[in-house]
Every structure is written in structure tokens, then in C-alpha cells.
């Protein structure tokens, strides 16, 4: 059974099946292509939203100063999960666990936009495989948050 739990000493143990590791490896591999696709992609607009509403100039200025760092950290987070799932036992220190929950959020955001989920409670497009991934990522993220946060 996959999931996450807190070990004595505070590290977070994440248990995943081989299929789940493979899925996370594939999803995290796609993060660079998504983030490189630019604002035409709704996933990018949601991952890097305007910081100012109704003030394009200020929003653009904010982007100039923050976007590169944000993208770098998001890519590093996805890569950290990718590396971990290709390795052995996964035990995360608190810093690494935080990187995981942020990166899992990014993956869920990308899949939600692919499913067309824009409002609370929407099912999105009838794509059972994608929907299954989305729900499972939510389950895993919840498990890691609970393990960090208990």
C-alpha cells in the first residue's frame, strides 16, 4: 500500500509501488516542456499567475524579477521527485518533503488544466486515465502533508 508516514527523527518515508514510481518519473519528466511552453498554455498561466490583477505593466515587471527563479525552483522540485522515484527507499528530510508537496501541487495543477477543471467540484473531461492520476496525486499529496504536519 502506497503512502507516507513520519519516522522517528522526523524524516518522511514515502512508499510507492513500481507502477507509481514509473508514473511519477514520466510526469516529472514532462515538467520542463510544460514550463517552457509559455503563457499560451493555461497550465503555465496557472503555475505562474499574474501577481497584479488589472495592471499588466506591474504584472509584467513582477514576472521580470520573479519568473526565472520560480521556474528554476519548480523544475528542481520536479527533478527531485524524478530522481527519488528512480532510486531506492524514499526518506525525506523536512526540506525535501516541502519540495515534494510543492512539486506535487504543480503536477496536479498541470493535470487539472489538461482536464479542464476550472471550478470547485468540476469533474473535467471524461478521461479516466488522467482523472485517475489526478486523484492519486491528490491522495499522495494529502498523505505527505499529513505526515509532515502531524
Amino acid at each position: 500500500m502506497s503512502g507516507a508516514r513520519r519516522l522517528r527523527g522526523g524524516r518522511i518515508r514515502v512508499d510507492l509501488t513500481a507502477d507509481e514510481r514509473e508514473l511519477l518519473a514520466r510526469l516529472t519528466e514532462q515538467a520542463p516542456a510544460v514550463l517552457a511552453s509559455g503563457p499560451a498554455d493555461p497550465a503555465v498561466r496557472r503555475l505562474l499567475p499574474d501577481a497584479y490583477r488589472g495592471d499588466d505593466e506591474a504584472a509584467e515587471e513582477f514576472r521580470r524579477f520573479t519568473q526565472e527563479g520560480l521556474v528554476e525552483r519548480k523544475l528542481a522540485g520536479a527533478a527531485a521527485i524524478g530522481d527519488a522515484v528512480r532510486g531506492g527507499t524514499i526518506e525525506l528530510d523536512p526540506g525535501a518533503a516541502l519540495v515534494w508537496v510543492k512539486a506535487l501541487t504543480d503536477l496536479r495543477i498541470i493535470i487539472a488544466t489538461r482536464l479542464g477543471i476550472e471550478n470547485d467540484g468540476e469533474e473535467g473531461l471524461p478521461d479516466p486515465a488522467l482523472r485517475g492520476m489526478y486523484d492519486w496525486l491528490g491522495y499522495l499529496q494529502e498523505a505527505v502533508v499529513r505526515a509532515i504536519d502531524r
Binding site: D50, Y52, R53, L70, V101, G138, D149
Partner: protein, 96 residues
Amino acid sequence: MTQAGTRAELDDELVVAPDTPWVTLVWNDPVNLMSYVSYVFRSYFGHPRAEAERLMLLVHHEGRAVVATGVREEMERHVEAMHDYGLWATLQRADA
């Protein structure tokens, strides 16, 4: 009755007082888990659990909540941090 401020306090007033406060807003989105949003408010802003839950529910039910107030540069740092966490955040003048 009043007393003279120290030099540092005076300088602070000169810099901060004329500026309208700014706020950081977090907006509801269909993706983020309630447990995660509450965790972010606690771990990043250092809110006690009850306050984090209150803000999270405000975002969920009202569609948005003010999660911080202060000078513009500080709010920009908060918004960038929220985007790091994958939350949908913006900043604006408090009176906007």
C-alpha cells in the same frame, strides 16, 4: 503627552507612513487541497492552526482572503512564495 522617537523610528515613519498598505490575496482554486492550503498558511506565515483554518475556509467559501498586509515589497515576496507553493495569489493596495 508624547515623547521623542529614536532616530530609527523616525526614519521608519518617513519611509513607511506615506505608503498606503498593500495586501496579499489568496484566491480559491479547484486544485489545491484544503489541508495543504491550511498547512501553507501555518508553515509560511506562521499562523496558529485556528487562524490558518479560518483563512483557508474564507478562501474556500468567499473565493479569496487577505492573508497579509504591509508594504508593497513585502507583499511581492509573499506572492512569489505563494506561487512557489502553487497557490493563486495576487497583491494590491489595501484600499483598492
